[in-house]
Symmetry: C2
Subunit: 274 residues, 2 copies
């Protein structure tokens, strides 16, 4: 971590600064955003803040003023050109017990070094499943044990991402990214009615597809459909669009892909949006 800001105050990245009764710690009672800092600017900042606002609303968290957050994010990043910014909003401090009352949200911002990007991803299947709960689906909340367990399933550095099914066996996403595939010239991505995170990059691609007259479907996806897909890519706000070049076999057969025309078109478009 390079720098941090807690409730508007600059703190050392090594600092112990969170109250022991913060509900983020006690219950994972909060939301977060992970953003890409490029040329001194936070990419898709408005989309991130909009999603956060939506998440806070669904969880009944009083989101801090957006202007305040933007000012503080500028303060955090004013000396930096590139990097990753993580913004956490928790419901705030509270007494013992699940019931929340009149909390003032905690706002924690952290600046990290940029990640190295991989162009062609090798992915595997995760055994850990995503639970279905419409009340939490889509929200980037702090209850992330499923992702933690999924990522603990492998430690081979040549595997870049894991694909996750929900408890009904539908393909939902990667552990830290959304998934798209091209099936019969249609761009397909799992709908996220029951689980998964509504990724900012996912939203961007859904809009771009419409603009580029690409037919796009959000629907239930069976994992075996991946085998018949002509192109597969993963998306995430920090990493952008990443083509999948290899799927390791498990109980489902493995496969390899070249980087396809539609994927390249969307990658080009994203680079130009810059």
């Amino acid at each position: 971590m390079l720098a941090a800001l807690l409730d508007g105050t600059v703190i050392s990245p090594q600092q112990s600064a969170i109250h022991i009764d913060d509900r983020g710690l006690l219950y994972g009672d909060g939301v977060f955003e992970t953003m890409s800092l490029q040329n001194g600017k936070l990419r898709f900042l408005n989309d991130h803040l909009r999603r956060m606002q939506h998440g806070c609303k669904r969880l009944g968290i009083v989101m801090p003023d957006t202007e305040l957050l933007i000012n503080e994010l500028q303060q955090l990043t004013h000396n930096a050109d590139r990097g990753i910014v993580k913004l956490i909003i928790t419901r705030g401090r509270g007494g013992r017990g699940y019931r929340a009352s009149q909390c003032v949200a905690t706002r924690l911002m952290q600046l990290f070094e940029p990640v190295e990007l991989v162009t062609g991803l090798t992915v595997r299947w995760c055994a850990t499943r995503l639970a279905r709960n419409e009340a939490l689906a889509g929200i980037k909340h702090l209850n992330r044990l499923e992702q933690v367990l999924a990522q603990s399933e492998w430690d081979d550095a040549t595997i870049n991402e894991g694909l996750m099914l929900d408890t009904e066996g539908e393909l939902i996403s990667g552990t830290m990214s959304n998934v798209f595939m091209v099936v019969d010239d249609v761009l397909v991505t799992p709908d996220l009615r029951f689980s998964g995170v509504q990724g900012v990059m996912r939203g961007n691609i859904l809009h771009t597809a419409v603009e580029l007259s690409i037919t796009v479907e959000q629907r239930a996806v069976h994992p075996e459909e991946l085998l018949s897909a002509t192109e597969v890519f993963m998306t995430n706000a920090v990493r952008g669009i990443q083509p999948v070049v290899a799927l390791l076999p498990s109980s489902i057969a493995g496969r390899q892909w070249d980087i396809g025309a539609l994927t390249m078109k969307l990658m080009d478009n994203l680079a130009q949006e810059h």
Copy 2:
């Protein structure tokens, strides 16, 4: 909060002492226990530590040495006679990203005032559902947004607890307690294969029932079964056994109960175990 101990150091209950990269905060990556301090002793301490150990094992968290925890809990409570002790173990501190590597667990202990006990509970149905995930079922982990949302559904202080169904419509538990009922002279409690928390008091009652030759069933429970139950009670390590005297009507009819013979027998037995 009356007192607190973090990683063996006494801290002020108001202190900001948690590192900003603690995985408990970042992902709800940890487990907790809530224990009753009575006559200077932590009730069911061994059961709590055993459950915590089991939870840590399932989540791949390296649990601190039990002797160390017991010593620190004694340090926390040595001046207190009664109260509630909350013990939180997180996976520890980590960098950005879900992947955990070589963490040293954080141990946070908090002492609170005792709660006032209600003898006959009035309960309601919660709209918030519990997701099903065998990987997390039973564990008292820090991903507790479902309970937070459920408790936010009402603020009428005459309602003591909410009953929760899972996403398939089965009755699982209260928001902070397990549920038992007597149906045709059989003690029934929901099995917790897919969701819910394996309560320490629940485990105690299952054992007691066997000792007292009470027929007991852990199985899937349909919410309407509650209407035909002759006795209903909720359990939790801090509150013990609490008879339910009224269920408020919703889409399912309401009902009232007297405190039944089997409930009283189990309450007496629990009081004697003391």
